[in-house]
């Protein structure tokens, strides 16, 4: 048995996870696909209004390394491409492709592949990109881009350390699809040519553990259970727990030869390569005290949340808040008309008595609890102070951008200070400032170029005029000479 390391801080969590088996979602009348991917990257629609699409058909293509193609999750017609409120902390509307389903669920024919080792890693990566696969743990980073690292990877880590309270979609997927996950892990390992592969499972998921043990039929994959300490599922934290290697703040795991992939992603890779299926569905945990029957639902991506809620018996009366993602890192939603995305792992309906910690804020008593739990070893209290007083340089000096927004500091703060909220605000301020600087530099250069060009043009005009004058003079002189000679 491998000896496990610990990362700094973190919170031991009391799991409140539903263990019901996965059910299939029924077909919603409408599927909604936001074009916005990560931060500022949009996918490009490649379907026309009124066009009929099939399940698995690509409806938007990726135009950068940070976006992935989108596929229809059922057959129907493209009803509109219009702004709808999307799953984003801003709760703003943005362009979406809306598909009206026709109930037939007709699919494109898939081309299965029986031996992936016959193909080059490059080919497999392209297939993964074409299948629209992104990290299903919540970050939604395009998997093919992550796999095209220049670095030598020695260890692939399949992350099944869910660790957020409430979320159980990964555990339920493992219980049903352990073999597919192991296949997916092997494909990923083949693509990366990684020597080792570790599947990390949380220790309070014994059934998932058992299922994987049975499915693993090779020596190249190691199964390790990790303690249920939040946020063990964070990439750098998980690497530290499994291998004892601490990845420095400014480095990526790949620079140290590690790469992490979520279990759901591994399964999607298996589906894409072996079965030839694009990513059109995922498992979503629908839970919280505000839901009548909490469960894990295999959901078509693009399904409106209210459809899933209805399938889970509807709301309880006392429901107060709807959250996408877990209770620690999720975002509050303003409406249940919003559709689930590839990144949605959980829909949480909170009741009022579930929202402890929302009491009035008090001044910081400098207890240092926040720093003690921070898994990245930051000083939240300092960062908060610098952020609030607008000392952006200091925030950067104190590694604000290493903060993973895990929320541990918020939970322990006895003064109920909204620390994470402030960190998000400050990060936004710094990013805006940098963007403005780029923009004004651009304007400055363009203005200078214009001035130089105009000065040059003026000089050229002058030169031309002078030349003309000279020529005219010459002609005059010539004609004069002619006249004289006559």
């Amino acid at each position: 048995m491998t000896k496990l390391a610990h990362f700094h801080g973190g919170l031991a969590i009391t799991a409140d996870k539903c263990a019901n088996p996965i059910i299939d979602s029924s077909l919603p009348g409408e599927l909604i696909y936001p074009l916005l991917q990560r931060s500022n990257n949009y996918a490009l629609p490649i379907v026309k209004l009124g066009e009929r699409v099939l399940k698995g058909q690509m409806i938007a293509s990726a135009n950068s390394l940070f976006s992935a193609p989108i596929h229809a999750a059922s057959s129907g017609t493209v009803k509109a491409i219009e702004p709808r409120i999307i799953a984003h902390p801003s709760n703003l509307a943005d362009d979406c492709i809306i598909i009206e389903t026709d109930g037939l669920d007709a699919a494109l024919s898939a081309i299965p592949c029986f031996d992936y080792q016959q193909e080059t890693p490059e080919n497999l990566r392209t297939k993964i990109h074409q299948a629209g696969i992104v990290g299903l743990g919540g970050a939604a980073f395009p998997t093919a881009t992550k796999l095209s690292t220049e670095q030598d990877i020695h260890t692939l880590i399949i992350n099944a350390a869910e660790c957020e309270p409430y979320i159980s979609c990964d555990a339920s997927l493992i219980r049903q699809k352990a073999e597919g996950i192991v296949q997916g892990a092997l494909i990923l390992q083949y693509i990366l040519q990684a020597k080792h592969c570790i599947i990390a499972v949380e220790e309070n998921m014994p059934e998932a553990n058992q299922a994987l043990l049975q499915a693993i039929n090779t020596h190249s994959i190691q199964l390790i259970s990790v303690p249920a300490i939040y946020p063990t599922g964070g990439e750098k934290q998980l690497i530290q727990v499994l291998t004892g290697t601490k990845i420095p703040a400014k480095c990526l795991p790949t620079e140290h030869g590690f790469i992490c992939q979520n279990v759901g992603t591994a399964y999607a890779v298996y589906q894409a390569i072996i079965q030839g299926l694009a990513l059109t569905e995922r498992i979503i945990t629908v839970t919280g005290k505000g839901i009548k029957q909490p469960q894990n639902i295999r959901t078509r991506i693009g399904t409106p949340i209210k459809h899933l809620i209805a399938q889970s018996g509807g709301y309880n009366k006392k429901v107060q808040r709807l959250i996408m993602g877990g209770s620690m890192m999720g975002i509050a939603l303003s409406s249940d008309e919003i559709a689930v995305t590839k990144a949605t792992n959980c829909i949480l309906a909170m009741t009022s008595n579930q929202q402890e910690n929302k009491s009035a804020e008090m001044p910081c008593i400098r207890c240092g609890d926040c720093a003690a739990v921070c898994p990245v070893e930051l000083l939240p209290q300092q960062l908060y102070w610098y952020g609030r007083s607008g000392q952006l340089d200091q925030c950067q000096n104190y590694q604000l951008f290493s903060c993973i927004e895990c929320g541990c500091c918020d939970v322990v703060c006895p003064s109920h200070i909204p620390l994470v909220q402030q960190f998000r605000v400050t990060k936004g301020e710094i990013i805006t400032k940098e963007k403005q600087a780029v923009q004004s530099n651009l304007a400055k250069t363009r203005f200078q170029n214009q001035q130089q060009r105009r000065a040059r043009e003026e000089q050229e005009q002058l030169a031309k005029a002078e030349k003309r004058k000279a020529i005219i003079e010459k002609m005059k002189a010539a004609s004069l000479a002619k006249k004289k000679s006559l």
């Binding site: 703003l92 909204p418 990013i431 530099n441 050229e460």
Partner: protein, 173 residues
Amino acid sequence: MLLLCLIFVMLGLILGFAAQYLKVQGDPIVEQIDALLPQTQCGQCQFPGCKPYAQAIAQGEADINQCPPGGEQTINALASLLGMESKPLNTEFGTIKTPAIAFIIEQDCIGCVKCIPPCPVDAILGATKQMHTVITSECTGCELCIAPCPVNCIIMLPRENKPSEWQWPAAHD
């Protein structure tokens, strides 16, 4: 041939002079002030661009509160650079507006090209008798193209409120 040679010699001379001229301008304090200005190049400060305003400030010929696009932030930054007291914007030069960009109502445009010369950053694209358009990413929102348009087909639109541009609001205030 001679003509070409002459033009090239001239060009060389002009470039030489320009380089010289710009070098003389490369006064570090002017550069520092210029770096704090928003580079909208709108001329509201009554100088033909941000750099000339920066020069005027450096020579003590202009106050630090004459740039409406920069607003309070720019004034504060200038004050701390020059070791002066901050002060409110002098509204004689204009008022603070929400950032906007120019938009040409294309079906109304008659292709008169009158909007092209005023634009300080060459953000308008078009040719005689052709429809014109604004390159959104380059436009600084200086509004200098609005007045020259004979058919009033250029309007200012606030920058789009897209999720990708959105920032977390503060928990307080």
